[in-house]
C-alpha cells in the first residue's frame, strides 16, 4: 500500500532523515522504533506531506512525494502528530466535525461514524460540548485519534500516542489501536514505548540517527535483546 524509498528530510543544513526505506502492506500494523531524535517523527511528517522531503513516496503505486497534507488526507492518509494538537477552543464535537472535512457532503455517513466513535469512547460523548482544551491528556489523545478517523482513512500515521499518559490510559489507547487494525485499517505507529508497540505490531523498523538500523517481524525484533539495549534504551 505504501512504499517509501530513500527518504531524506532536512531542516536547513541538518539532515534528520537519511535514506530511509520502508513498506507497508494493506491491513498491516507496522511500528517505527528508535530513541529520541532518531528521525521517526520527521519520517512520519514527510509521509503525511507536512514536511518537504527528497526520495520517493508511493501510495498504491502513485508518486505522492510532493503532495500537500490536504491532498494526502483526501487520498486516505491521515496523521495524528505527537503534539496532539487538539483545537483547544473548539468543542469536542467541532473537533470531530472538522476531522470529517473531506467527507463534508456525506452527512449521514459522518453521523454514523460519530455514533460509532462515541460507543468506542463514551467519555468523548459526555464532553461533546466542552472545549477540547479542557480535556485530560488521555481524553485529548482519544479525541485526536477519533478526529483522524472521521476522515475514514485507509492509512493512519500515529506518532507517539502513549506520550505522557498514565499506564492504564496507555493500555486503553493500545487496545483501541488493535481494534482499529482489526477493522482493516493500515497503521504506521511511531513509539518510544517499544515493548508495548512490539506486542501489537506485525513488523517493526528500528531507526537510529536518521537511518533504518534494523527491520523484521515484531517477534524477531523483540527477541533480539541486544537491539533493545542499544536502540531502545533497555
Amino acid at each position: 500500500m505504501l512504499e517509501v524509498n530513500s527518504l531524506e528530510v532536512r531542516y536547513g543544513a541538518i539532515r534528520a532523515v537519511h535514506d530511509v526505506s520502508l513498506t507497508l502492506a494493506e491491513g498491516e500494523l507496522v511500528t517505527l522504533l528508535g530513541a529520541n531524535g532518531a528521525g521517526k517523527s520527521s519520517t512520519l511528517l514527510a509521509i503525511a506531506g507536512a514536511l518537504r522531503a527528497n526520495g520517493r513516496i508511493l501510495l498504491e503505486g502513485q508518486d505522492v512525494t510532493s503532495w500537500s497534507p490536504e491532498r494526502m488526507v483526501r487520498n486516505g492518509v491521515v496523521m495524528v502528530p505527537e503534539t496532539r494538537d487538539v483545537f483547544p477552543d473548539l468543542t469536542v464535537l467541532e473537533n470531530l466535525r472538522l476531522g470529517g472535512y473531506v467527507r463534508r457532503s456525506d452527512q449521514a455517513g459522518l453521523a454514523e461514524d460519530r455514533e460509532r466513535i462515541f460507543e468506542l469512547f463514551p467519555r468523548l460523548k459526555e464532553r461533546g460540548d466542552q472545549p477540547g482544551g479542557t480535556l485530560s491528556g488521555g481524553e485529548q489523545q482519544m479525541l485526536v485519534i477519533a478526529r483522524a478517523m472521521m476522515s475514514r482513512p485507509r492509512l493512519l500515521l500515529l506518532d507517539e500516542p502513549s506520550l505522557g499518559l498514565a499506564p492504564t490510559i496507555v493500555d486503553q489507547i493500545f487496545e483501541m489501536i488493535v481494534e482499529l487494525k482489526r477493522s482493516g485499517l493500515t497503521i504506521l505507529l511511531v513509539e518510544q514505548n517499544a515493548s508495548k508497540a512490539l506486542e501489537v505490531a506485525d513488523r517493526a523498523y528500528v531507526m537510529r540517527l536518521g537511518r533504518v538500523a534494523a527491520e523484521g517481524t515484531a517477534a524477531d525484533i523483540a527477541a533480539a535483546s541486544d537491539l533493545k539495549a542499544i536502540y531502545l534504551g533497555g
Partner: protein, 296 residues
C-alpha cells in the same frame, strides 16, 4: 436621561463601526499572524467604486452591493499579490509587500482619479434625523447600529456553525494541523481575505456616510482604529476585536462628552494615554485567545 440615551446611541453606533473595522483586520491576523497594512485601501476601493458607479443611475443598494463586492475582490487580490508569493519566505517580506500594495493602490487612486475629495452618492435616509425618547439623532447612527448587530450575529453564526467557519477558527490556533485534516491552506487564507474585504466594504459605506466624500488616504484612520481596537481587545481573539472596538468608541465618545471645549482638540492624546494604561495593565489585550504563537 436624554443625555444618557444620546450617549448610548453615539457609543453603539461608533463602536459598531469600529468593531466591524477591527474584525476585518483580526480575521486575517488570526490566521497569518500578520497585520495586513493594505486593509485601509480595501475601504478606499469600496469608496471609489461608489464614486465611479454613481453616474449609472442605479438604486443606492445596488451600488452599495457592487462596492462591497469590489472590496471583497480587492481583499482576495491582496492575498494573491502581496501575501501568497512571499508568505512562506519571511515575515519581513510580507510586511513590506503589504505596505507596498497599500501605497500602490493609494497612488493609483491619486493618479487615475484625483488627490482631491470625490463625492459619493448617499441615500436620503443617511441625512435624515429621527427622534427617539426625546433624543434627536441622525438615522445613519441607527443604521450603523442595526448593520453592526446584524453582521456580528451573522458572522458569529457562520464561524460557529459552518464547516469553513470552524476550519478558520481551528487554523487560527494550529494552521498545519488544520491542513493535516484535509482543509486546503489557500482556501482558508483566501476566505479570510474575502471576509476582511467584506467588512471593509460595509465599513466604507458607513464611514463615508459620515463625510460624503472619498479621498485616497481615507483608509488610514480606519486602519489605525482597527489596529488599536484589536491591540486593546487581544489580537488573537475575534471577540476581543469586537470588545476592543466598542471600548475604544466608549473612550472616544466619553471624552467627547466630558472634556472641556479647549481640550477637545487634544482628545486623541487622551484616548491614546488610556490605551497605553490598558496595555500596561493587560499587555496581551483584554481577551487572551488560545495560547499559540505558531506562524504559518
Amino acid at each position: 436621561m436624554t443625555m444618557f440615551i444620546q450617549f448610548l446611541i453615539d457609543v453603539l453606533s461608533l463602536g459598531g463601526a469600529y468593531a466591524l473595522m477591527a474584525l476585518g483586520l483580526v480575521i486575517v491576523f488570526g490566521i497569518l499572524k500578520l497585520v495586513n497594512f493594505a486593509y485601509g485601501e480595501l475601504i478606499m476601493v469600496a469608496g471609489y467604486t461608489m464614486y465611479m458607479v454613481s453616474g449609472l443611475g442605479l438604486p443606492w443598494l445596488v451600488m452599495a452591493g457592487i462596492a462591497v463586492i469590489m472590496a471583497i475582490m480587492a481583499g482576495i487580490a491582496t492575498d494573491y499579490v502581496a501575501f501568497r508569493p512571499v508568505r512562506a519566505k519571511s515575515v519581513t517580506a510580507v510586511l513590506i509587500t503589504s505596505f507596498a500594495f497599500s501605497t500602490l493602490l493609494q497612488n493609483a487612486a491619486q493618479l487615475f482619479i484625483s488627490p482631491r475629495p470625490r463625492t459619493v452618492p448617499l441615500p436620503e435616509i443617511f441625512s435624515a434625523t429621527v427622534e427617539i425618547a426625546g433624543v434627536i439623532t441622525p438615522a445613519r447612527n441607527l443604521i450603523t447600529i442595526a448593520a453592526a448587530v446584524t453582521l456580528l450575529a451573522f458572522f458569529a453564526f457562520i464561524m460557529k456553525r459552518s464547516i469553513l467557519g470552524i476550519a478558520m477558527r481551528a487554523a487560527a490556533t494550529h494552521f498545519t494541523m488544520t491542513r493535516m485534516l484535509g482543509v486546503p491552506a489557500n482556501l482558508i487564507i483566501s476566505s479570510a481575505f474575502a471576509i476582511s474585504g467584506f467588512f471593509a466594504g460595509v465599513v466604507s459605506l458607513l464611514w463615508i456616510g459620515r463625510i460624503g466624500t472619498v479621498v485616497p488616504g481615507i483608509g488610514l484612520e480606519p486602519l489605525l482604529i482597527a489596529f488599536i481596537a484589536t491591540v486593546i481587545g487581544g489580537m488573537r481573539s475575534l471577540q476581543g476585536a469586537v470588545l476592543g472596538g466598542f471600548l475604544l468608541a466608549f473612550i472616544d465618545t466619553g471624552l467627547n462628552y466630558s472634556l472641556p471645549q479647549e481640550l477637545l482638540k487634544f482628545r486623541d492624546a487622551f484616548t491614546f494615554s488610556l490605551v497605553i494604561l490598558i496595555l500596561l495593565w493587560r499587555p496581551q489585550g483584554l481577551m487572551r485567545g488560545p495560547a499559540t504563537g505558531q506562524r504559518t
